[in-house]
Symmetry: C2
Subunit: 195 residues, 2 copies
């Protein structure tokens, strides 16, 4: 395989990139933006090397504690559970939540063999039992798998005497949090309900 | 700027990638496919290092002569002029052209200050004057700039006693060759007309 074909193949691993756009990207970089190709290669290597997970909330972080977990002015009584760093970033952009987070590694998916263990439920239960958390806000996706995950988490939290709430169903059913408009998320946050 | 932000920024330089998809790509790579990120970084560096331009037709090549120029079984009487390696690849996929190619560095664009010098017209004229070429097929885009480029090339070729043809206007006006369906390109090739 030529270096060009290998580049096209590597670009196809990016989400949302098919054969046609991968080819277009490769041609563009080699014909018009070799500096951009170099910059991207370096950025990828730096990110793989330096971006780790926050030891408390498991979001992306270059420091042991992410900036949010390191912020002492947040409301320690609230812990919001999301499926991914992207969903956490969407929550933050609403500017209407001031507690802490716990970022799961995705959601439970029995068909794909993804169980509570894989997504970090044990760590969540440990984090939620710090004695300060009074309410765990379940902000997993409003898909079948996200709902199932919220259900399992609610049960596990209740068994440990912890109260959990769920974002209101203002979030359109079937959609991923990351792609929901911020006003809807903010509204759903206000209307959160007990589980 | 964090390594994550730098990665998002670098991904945004890819054609067709906005803030949202760059973020999604970065999160995906770091959360689910760090091996893919490493592979992409290596592929970019390999391609930048190894992919050069064919010394005869100027398409991408890892060898001094590209496989097409090195193929002695092509029809040396035909030379097809395209704007980019992507357009050349589209021509090849029609499987209805068996001559050689000359790949311009884009097209003339007076507004962007891109003149005949920048796109390699001098090299084309030299290549076309090898004594074997009998017909130069102008396969630049059917946009205003592509038509202007074809016009300028036809004049320059005529001044040197060289005959040129243009792909038939079966190609939808306003579209880029790369995105045209193969049947249309094949048809336009058969119907090519003198300029
Ligand atoms: Zn954290
Ligand atoms: Zn060549």
């Amino acid at each position: 395989m030529t270096a060009l074909d290998q580049l096209i193949e590597a670009l196809r691993r990016l989400p949302g990139v098919g054969q046609k756009s991968a080819q277009r990207m490769a041609y563009h970089l080699l014909q018009h933006d070799r500096a951009g190709a170099d910059a991207l290669a370096r950025a990828l290597q730096d990110a793989v090397r330096n971006v780790r997970h926050c030891e408390r909330c498991h979001t992306f972080s270059e420091t042991p504690l992410c900036p949010i977990c390191a912020d002492r002015h947040r409301d320690a009584r609230l812990l919001c559970v999301v499926e991914s760093p992207a969903d956490q970033a969407a929550m933050e952009r609403t500017a209407s939540y001031f507690g802490y987070y716990f970022v799961l590694q995705g959601r439970i998916s029995p068909l794909d063999g993804v169980s509570t263990r894989e997504i970090g439920v044990d760590q969540l239960l440990e984090r939620a039992a710090d004695g300060q958390v009074e309410e765990v806000i379940l902000a997993t996706s409003f898909t079948a798998e996200g709902e199932a995950t919220a259900h399992v988490l609610a049960e596990a939290l209740r068994a440990r005497g912890l109260r959990s709430t769920r974002l209101a169903r203002g979030v359109p059913v079937g959609s991923e949090l990351e792609y929901v408009d911020l006003g809807t998320i903010a509204h759903a946050l206000v209307d959160r309900r007990s589980t």
